[in-house]
Symmetry: C3
Subunit: 132 residues, 3 copies
Amino acid sequence: METMTIEIHSGKRDEMIDITDRISDAVGEIGVADGVVTVYVPHTTAGVTINENADPSVVHDILAALDMAVPWHQSFYRHSEGNSAAHVKSTMIGCSLQVLVREGKLVLGTWQGIYFCEFDGPRRRKVIIAVR
Amino acid sequence: METMTIEIHSGKRDEMIDITDRISDAVGEIGVADGVVTVYVPHTTAGVTINENADPSVVHDILAALDMAVPWHQSFYRHSEGNSAAHVKSTMIGCSLQVLVREGKLVLGTWQGIYFCEFDGPRRRKVIIAVR
Amino acid sequence: METMTIEIHSGKRDEMIDITDRISDAVGEIGVADGVVTVYVPHTTAGVTINENADPSVVHDILAALDMAVPWHQSFYRHSEGNSAAHVKSTMIGCSLQVLVREGKLVLGTWQGIYFCEFDGPRRRKVIIAVR
């Protein structure tokens, strides 16, 4: 199994950063023709997801709806760092994702892009990419 | 890695369609004895999940609770297609799932079924199945 | 593909049980140096996630926020067992997770632990671990 790590610098508290091209490049460098790529986020206040990369308003709406479902301030939060909502969103969205690779290319739908999800930025983050 | 694609026709805006038998048949056709099957939905307003396939009221309750957590109409949505909630649900539920295969059969719990989740139907959809 | 099954006894309705060491031990016993471990929960009112294992208040806040987003009692629930919220949370969090293995060890971030999520306890549960 070959792995690569990429670095990401987020700029806002909540942000979805399109990393499709970076995953695609990593898969190309690793040089596997057919298999599965695992995209892994080693953080507890971030995640990884797949969604539309055509209209940027989709990303806005996803982040706003998550913020409505899991408000930043809730009276019952106990975690002293004050970023409990980010932990909840990380668990809701997930930190591990699998995408198929065929003939050296990511198998994505027409409108699909892979997004790193920052829920407690700005921060320096890592994403691990493994292909088998 | 062997892959198969199946077609699904959804009939409602929100719908969970049991695709366990179709995944199971695909795994049988591909003919892998032991491994992992990846079920991949190449859409941004749909998803894939595992839940109870005994009492149909469970599916009703899941869809209704998701609709309550992520309402179809919210004042802050900007995406002009009007289906932002479907994008949010897709990201919450996920479009990629892994199930183990042992002796050519899906390793599922007693009550578990695999569901294609339609969040913006009715539509024609695809599901990609890959076994390794 | 080698698999192992571990048993878990949950003690509350909602509970996140840290199973990192048990997964790690299973990976060690199976003896794979490099690969991917699939952690699979064969239940429909439980799940598996990765989040912080340093401050226990994080777990409290995650369970409380999920309970707020998906209340235990909602007028539209039809499922007669009365545990619909547990089914919804199971589908939101997911029952299948992949973690990388390198040199025989789980590749986890500094603060990451693997949690079995009980949403309808107390119960006896199983977790299947498969390494490739």
